[in-house]
């Protein structure tokens, strides 16, 4: 049977994709209303309507998802629902809601409809991305996602930085898509299939084609760009700094969750026979050593480069590179525990990062971008400062916040994956780099809490919706840290 023309029942497809359809409809509705009825009203009113409809769409999608069959699938791996994809899709929708709520007070654009619709379309793309095990659909969904993100990055038309960031992101992204497509075509050529489990079955022969290693490297390069892992990270600091704050937060959270999940699916499901081994003195070629190299490099480059940053966004960008290194440990573990550790890590990380960018967005109107500008924040806005403390300490991995348990869990999963502590050196490196990271997070907090305010600045006022969202995010970060079981249960680990 030609794998590309597997027969699909359209009614079945319709039944399975109700959440995505609801989101798409909400996106179209936002666009249409904003261009017609709301044309003449104020920006604030349009924002309220746009964000409201978009949030309603996301909530509807969450409900539809809750009622859908968690074990459904379409032939040829085009659409595969598992309890895990359920959790990831719900997390993506929740992150979309948080991002939308944080954009209540955006001032950089008057194209509200397009903005909300693009956020929704990007979320649709991610929902398809995580629910497929078909190389072709993975690529299509990934490109759909990337296109939406390019536009979101360059959405601030008055800012040269935003345009530069978008162009840079686009050029790097397009090139990485080329690598990815090349790798995928090699995989198809080697296995004769584009379905991940079938690729794995076809590859599990005694001898392996050298072309497979080329394919692995190509796929790793392609996804390495998407997750901003070193040495493919160069776009990230500029994109995070230049993009509108809300877009940057979205880029750093949701797209990370989706990309990591599908990256793990591709290598763990599709390339399981070619895993190889990265243990000390027991090295074997495969994707595990490749990823170990990328992970180690990301941890070192990200954390060390973050030490020297003075801009908050660039600091967050480099710390994101470091975190990508930690998260790769979850894929390197290639065990059910590793996958659940990866998902716990990336979801809690996304919550903290959305929150951190939300705070930056709230401070944007004050012209705060450099670390030193935060001076006196704890007196000007005690609530905002406390939220910042929670988010950054969670990123640094201080208990009882969720970032700590995430690190503990992912380190143990990775260490348990090789017998005789084969990966101990990598864990020691990760632990050491995590100690380094505390320094730059504390520098930010020092500015916010310790440094005296330069002059008598007035109290900061932030929109109620922003405040509320930040508090909810901070509460989630604390709650998931104190009771990780809440999330672990749904991640399939007993």
């Amino acid at each position: 049977m030609n794998p590309l023309t597997a027969s699909v029942s359209y009614s079945e497809l319709l039944r399975l994709t109700w959440p995505e359809i609801a989101l798409t409809l909400a996106g179209i509705l936002v666009l249409a209303l904003d261009l017609t009825v709301l044309r003449r009203t104020t920006l604030a009113a349009r924002l309220r309507a746009g964000v409201g409809i978009a949030c309603a769409g996301c909530i509807a999608a969450i409900f539809l998802l809750g009622y859908s069959d968690p074990f459904a699938s379409l032939p040829a791996g085009m659409f595969v629902m598992t309890p895990l994809t359920h959790v990831v899709q719900t997390a993506l929708l929740a992150l979309a809601i948080f991002t939308l709520l944080l954009s209540f007070s955006i001032r950089f654009t008057s194209h509200v409809g397009e903005y909300c619709a693009l956020l929704l379309f990007a979320t649709v793309a991610m929902m398809f991305l995580v629910a497929t095990q078909n190389l072709l659909l993975i690529f299509v969904a990934l490109e759909f996602l990337s296109l939406s993100l390019y536009i979101l990055t360059g959405f601030d038309k008055h800012s040269r930085q935003s345009a530069e960031a978008a162009l840079k992101y686009f050029l790097f992204g397009a090139m990485s898509a080329g690598f990815l497509l090349f790798g995928m075509s090699l995989l198809y050529g080697l296995s004769g299939s584009i379905e991940l489990p079938k690729i794995a079955a076809a590859l599990s022969g005694p001898s392996q084609d050298p072309l497979l290693w080329v394919a692995i490297v190509m796929v790793a390069v392609g996804f390495g760009f998407k997750i901003a892992a070193a040495p493919f990270h160069l776009w990230a600091p500029d994109a995070y700094q230049g993009a509108p704050t809300v877009s940057a937060g979205f880029l750093a959270s949701s797209s990370k969750v989706a990309s990591f999940f599908i990256f793990a699916q591709v290598v763990v499901l599709g390339l399981s026979p070619a895993a190889g081994g990265g243990a000390f003195r027991a090295w074997a070629p495969g994707w595990v050593p490749t990823l170990i190299l990328i992970a180690a490099l990301s941890m070192v480059v990200g954390n060390l480069a973050a030490l020297a940053q003075t801009s908050l966004r660039r600091l967050l960008a480099y710390s994101a590179i470091g975190h990508a290194g930690y998260m790769l440990l979850g894929i390197i573990a290639h065990s059910p525990r590793g996958l659940s550790a990866l998902l716990y890590y990336v979801i809690t990380y996304a919550l903290a990062v959305v929150g951190a960018f939300g705070i930056l967005g709230a401070l944007e109107s004050e012209g705060i971008d450099r670390i030193a500008d935060l001076a006196g924040l704890s007196r000007r806005a005690p609530g905002l400062a406390l939220c910042l403390l929670i988010f950054l300490l969670s990123l640094a991995g201080i208990p009882p916040l969720s970032g700590f348990f995430a690190k503990f869990y992912i380190f143990s999963a990775a260490l348990a994956s090789e017998p005789h502590f084969g990966l101990l050196w990598l864990i020691l490196l990760a632990v050491a780099m995590s100690a380094v990271s505390l320094y730059y997070y504390l520098r930010v907090l020092k500015a916010a809490y310790v440094a005296p305010a330069p002059k008598d600045l007035p109290k900061l006022r932030t929109a109620a919706a922003t405040r509320l969202t930040l508090w909810v995010l901070a509460a989630l970060v604390v709650l998931l840290g104190c009771a990780p079981s809440l999330l672990l249960n749904s991640l399939g680990i007993r």
Partner: protein, 517 residues
Amino acid sequence: MLAWTIYVSFLGAFAARMAPSKLAARILALLTALAGLALSLTALVQWQPGNLVTVADVSWIPQLGISYHLAADGISLTLLLLTGIAATAGILFSWNINQRTQEFFAFYLVLIGGVYGVFLSFDLFLLFVFYEIAIIPKYFLIAIWGSVPRDAAPGQQGSQREYAAMKLALYSFGGSALVLAGMVAAWVLSGSVTGTHTLDLQTLAGIAFPAHFQMWAFPLVFLGFAVLAGMWPFHTWAPTGHAAAPTAASMLLAGVVMKLGAYGCLRVAMMLFPAGLNAWGFHILGFGSWRDVIAVLALIGIVYGASVALVQRDFKFVIGYSSVSHMGFVLLGLMTLTRIGLDGAVLQMFSHGIIAGLLFAVVGRMVYDRAHTRQLSELSPMRLAHVIPFAAVTFVLAAMASIGMPGFSGFVAEFQIIVGAWRTLPWMAAVAGVGILIGIAFTWRALTTVFFGERAAHAAADHDHTLPPVTLPEKCGAILLLAATLVVGLYPAILTRLILPSLNSPLFQGLRNGAWR
């Protein structure tokens, strides 16, 4: 009941942060600390020798076999009592904090809650959680409310204490990173040895981990904790941190936080990986085991700390380095691997906690806050014994306790450590004795220069400086600490009856089987 020491501290921190006035915050903080002290005293009185009191044991993260297990044996109870006393005294000595008072006590009580948590935790994961909770408040306490020497340039005052605070935080976090690595490894191995993953200390203490694993896990975890215990050469955070911290924070740092490290060395590293102390089977530069290495480092700490204290010009640095020296005794006591030596080590943790608190209280609160200088040369002409006699009397008593005068707790502790060392590491006992002699020298030097200095030739002959009198909270705090060191010094059985049976408990079976002499 005992678990409430933790909860009360965290609740108190919240209440103090929300307090409407500075006085309310102070009173709330004091009440919280007193409640913690009362709870630990009650538990101590009710304790049956040899018992392991389980306070709480509920499944916390069942997926990973992690439980919320709080329990206390005699060693924990001793240190809980220390925490209660030190916390109460620290609040009494920070009654004069006027800048951002509510926040100060909030951070302070979070630190205390974390410390109580470490001493009560019987799950390694939980212990680590509390251990790290204690790090961040330390940073802010020093960075925001720290004291700086007057001769620092105006622009550098902030940066100096921020330097000290950051150094302290990074050393602590670096140490705990090593512990984290050891903990992850123990978790993984517990799964392959017993079939189910666990981090429960009681269960882990019963597992005989493979000897080659213990051989590298022991130094990793021991070193991680020993950084916070001020082991040479990882002690450098201690003097700068102590000197830059506000009085109450130095009291807590030296009094309690350094004990967290020593406690972790005993409770985690030595209790779980006792085989790590066995001989390597070969010698490098005369070292035949990790025990030799650590004992020598402890010894260097004793002598080096005391010698450096002897030449300091800054009063607070004298006490800061003396802490390094006294904590060296704790580590040496642990490495004697004799019952009496370990007993002495735990007693020294208690004793040094009280005495260092007292010394820092005199230096930071009674002297510096009044005289506004810490330079010995500037303090000398002030003849403080005449100006603030209460401070002088307190310091004389504290100095006597510190140099190991019989009748004070320091004597009982260091005597036992030396006896223990004499049995197993005789030449080290001799060197430690030299360390005590240098200790007498630097204490004598500080005492005579600061309080009984020569009247400066050019100063007016008839009037002394007038400084504000010692306040009631300070007197209460000083008396509390003095009483504690005297009671334990005169009747050490009050604590040894707690410590010795605990050392005989099944928890330390591995240590007794192994290298115990």
